[in-house]
């Protein structure tokens, strides 16, 4: 019982109210995030309708196989995150730590592949503002290099912003591992794991939209 009281913050009447408040808080934050990425998606939609061929051509310069592998990695990480939340609910400390570490590992694999992909783009001279050189030959559509530049700008802005969210997510999980190690969570109190899970799934879903919009245009 005293265990229960130590995790109940003074402003709440009971653990249920505290749990509902923290979950609602995270949902509200995720709505904020939807609007944040919404600005990027709006810009993407505007330019894709203005420069449809350049976006199709740009998409062909991305390696869809790498994108697909990364999609699979993230979906697996969502599964391990869900299992981590489940372990927390059941109060299984060791499996909680295990699944959190596994989720971190998969997140890091995603980021590692992303770094590999970015460096590949660097060698192809396709990074706007750093070393962009219009390609000698276009793959399918001969477009204005300026329009290709806009596509690549959006590719880096969108995947970069997503990667930043992944880095924050992995860091949050690292903190949770330490807290779980110290035995801070129980089947009565696991709010931080729950809300971190919501965040992690949200970041995954953003990628589920980014992958087809960036990698799979006009591939048939």
């Amino acid at each position: 019982m005293s265990e229960t009281h130590s995790v109940l913050a003074h402003q709440f009447d009971d653990l249920e109210q505290q749990f509902e408040a923290s979950t609602l808080g995270m949902w509200a934050f995720l709505i904020t995030e939807v609007l944040f990425f919404g600005g990027l998606f709006t810009g993407y939609a505007v330019y894709r309708s203005q420069y449809p061929l350049a976006f199709a051509e740009g998409s062909l310069h991305l390696d869809y196989r790498i994108g697909a592998i990364n999609t699979a990695v993230l979906i697996c990480s969502s599964l391990t995150m869900a299992l981590a939340v489940r372990s927390a609910q059941l109060g299984r400390r060791r499996s909680l730590i295990g699944f959190l570490l596994l989720t971190m590992l998969l997140g890091s694999v995603f980021l590692g592949i992303k770094v590999f992909e970015y460096s590949h783009k660097y060698h192809e001279h396709l990074i706007p503002g750093i070393n962009f050189v219009p390609p000698h030959e276009f793959i399918r559509y001969h477009v204005d290099p300026q329009q290709l530049y806009v596509f690549l700008s959006f590719y880096f802005a969108m995947t970069g912003m997503h990667a930043l969210h992944m880095i924050i997510g992995v860091s949050v999980l690292a903190v949770l591992v330490v807290l779980a190690w110290r035995g801070r969570f129980s089947s009565e109190y696991y709010n931080p794991v729950e809300v971190a899970g919501l965040y992690w799934h949200f970041v995954d879903i953003v990628w589920i939209f980014l992958f087809p919009l960036l990698y799979l245009i006009s591939r048939s």
Binding site: A9, H10, Q11, F12, D13, Q17, E20, A21, L24, G25, A28, F29, I31, T32, E33, L35, F36, F37, G38, G39, L40, T42, G43, V46, Y47, Q50, Y51, P128, G129, I130, D144, Q146, Q147, Y149, V150, S153, F154, F156, A157, M161
Partner: protein, 551 residues
């Protein structure tokens, strides 16, 4: 002195000192590490007052320059920086946080019978984020300023301006998270922390207004955040997003920017409307007329506010068809605004109206907001906007809403809840005098600007044709009076902290849970969680119960 009994009642002479949120512990550390929503409100009060003074100094320099048609006080570059920094300081660092961060923080938990907001540490973090954003922006100002206008239109901001755009943008980006987190905290607090019996339709209208404000904060602010990120990426990494030279479209920036920044106007005005609802009801000794209409009109303003941003682009190359749609949608905002004004007026009707200082500000709000709102219709109309766009008419219009509306509401809140926050009464005579000075100074400053704009004087120029001088001198004279009007309350409010008579729990005989606690309130607001059994503003049912008990 050390052993302060927490359960003691206030006001009885000879009792030991009661523990309140101000005396529970002392020292800078106890303030900088506090999670008490009341102390965080005070921290915000100090921070935003600094930025208000800073923005006021910039405004004074602008008005000084405009006394004469020639550019004789500052250069045109300096003038660009002055109006930019005036806008940045006043909008982002004063008006947007003003009532929510100070009075919303202080009052919402008390009004709903809670011990604190849902996330007290996040609340403190919001203040630190505000301060860090403030430091960046202040540094940008001190290192030479920024000259893009507070709107940061690309590609000037992203490519050509040589001033401290990036530093200012970082400051405002950081600041945005403070606003988001405050809004998020309020939404969760209002949903989950209400006392037993406090149903949604028993909530004070101040809380409804803040709920609507918070919705705008969490939905709009992230969009301006990503716009700022994109400007920064274009400026620093040369990504092609807004600059036509890089394949981008400058109009996209205006769409993204105004998607936040027009709703931001309602972030500034809605909390003031909440204050006015409280004050009008209290000083009319009457139920608010049409409670659900005022409550829902706040939500309607929040929702409609997201659909009108295109009226800032009537002359920017947006299609005429889009312009017509945005024009009609903009007109719709007038409906919930008018609903509020009519309901406040109907509340006054046959009420026992008394004219204390908070009431003077609230009445001033109604009149000035009405003028500001009606002139907004001129600007919402496509054809007249072509004539009035970017003239002083626009400047006068939004100052009637922002200064005549939002700051009048802020001053009303300050005078209404100051006794609750500090436990002291301010000198009423001086307060009424200051309200009058502000009202006269304000109108003398900004009414001539309507005429100037209609005659064709453009905004954002530091030289103008000599025939505009008379009206400009009137405006500058008004600004001087307005400045005096703001300095007087600063003096007597600070004076009252030491010399003001004790206020007692409820100096206005007002309804609302916040008035049932002693002044200043104890650290956790309520000894026992209150149970609410009646609607808000039950002024007629039991007139003056506290007095009746004393007699």
């Amino acid at each position: 002195m050390d052993a302060t009994p927490i359960n003691a009642h206030s006001g009885t002479p000879g009792e030991p000192i009661r523990a309140n949120y101000l005396n529970v512990n002392y020292g800078l550390k106890s303030w900088l590490l506090t999670t008490d929503h009341k102390r965080i409100g005070i921290l915000y009060l100090i921070s935003i007052t600094i930025f208000f003074a800073l923005g006021g100094i910039f405004a004074a320099l602008i008005r000084l320059e405009l006394m004469t048609p020639e550019g004789d006080v500052v250069s045109s570059e300096m003038y660009n920086k002055l109006f930019t920094m005036h806008g940045v300081a006043m909008i982002f660092f004063f008006l947007i946080p003003s009532i929510p961060a100070v009075f919303g923080n202080f009052l919402i938990p008390m009004m709903i019978g809670a011990r604190d907001v849902a996330f007290p540490r996040l609340n403190l973090m919001s203040w630190y984020i505000y301060s860090i954003g403030g430091v960046f922006t202040f540094a940008a100002m001190a290192l030479g300023g920024v000259d893009t206008g507070w709107t940061f239109y690309a590609p000037y901001s992203s490519t050509y301006s040589n001033s401290n755009v990036a530093l200012t943008a970082v400051g405002i980006f950081i600041l945005g998270f403070s606003s988001i987190l405050t809004g998020l905290n309020f939404i969760v607090t209002i949903h989950k922390m209400r006392a037993p019996g406090l149903t949604w339709f028993r909530l004070p209208l101040f809380v409804w207004a803040h709920y609507a404000t918070s919705l705008i904060q969490i939905l709009g602010t992230p969009v301006v955040a990503i716009s700022i990120v994109l400007v920064a990426l274009e400026r620093l990494l040369k990504l092609g997003i807004f600059d036509p030279k890089l394949g981008g479209d400058p109009l996209l920036f205006q769409h993204l920017f105004w998607f936040y920044s027009h709703p931001a106007v309602y972030i500034m005005i809605l909390p003031s409307m909440g204050v006015v609802s409280e004050v009008i009801a209290c000083f009319s000794r009457k139920r608010v007329f049409g409670y659900p209409f005022i409550a829902f009109s706040s939500l309607a303003i929040a929702v409609l506010g997201f659909l009108v941003w295109g009226h800032h682009m009537f002359t920017s190359g947006q299609s005429v068809y889009a312009g017509m749609i945005f024009s009609v949608l903009t007109m719709l905002v007038a409906i919930p605004s008018a609903v509020k004004v009519f309901n406040w007026t109907a509340t006054l009707y046959k009420g026992s109206v008394s004219y204390q200082a908070p009431m003077l500000y609230a009445l001033g709000f109604i009149g000035l907001f009405t003028i500001g709102g009606l002139t907004g219709l001129f600007l919402a109309t496509l054809a007249t906007d072509v004539h009035l766009h970017d003239t002083y008419f626009v400047v006068a219009h939004f100052h009637y809403i922002m200064v005549g509306g939002a700051i009048m509401g802020y001053m009303a809140a300050m005078h209404f809840w100051w006794p609750k926050m500090t436990g002291r009464l301010y000198p009423e005579g001086w307060a009424k005098f200051a309200a009058l000075v502000i009202f006269v100074g304000f109108n003398l400053t900004f009414f001539p600007q309507f005429v100037l704009g209609y005659l064709g004087m453009p905004r954002r120029y530091h030289v103008y044709p000599p025939e505009f001088q008379v009206l400009n001198v009137m405006s500058t004279a008004g600004a001087s009076i307005l400045a005096v009007g703001y300095i007087i309350p600063l003096i007597y409010l600070l004076w009252s902290l030491k010399y003001g008579p004790a206020a007692g729990a409820n100096p206005w005989q007002a309804k609302g849970l916040e008035w049932t606690t002693p002044s200043p309130p104890p650290p956790h607001n309520f000894e026992r969680t209150p149970v609410v059994t009646e609607e808000a503003y039950a002024y007629e049912s039991k007139p003056y119960p506290e007095e009746a008990e004393v007699v």
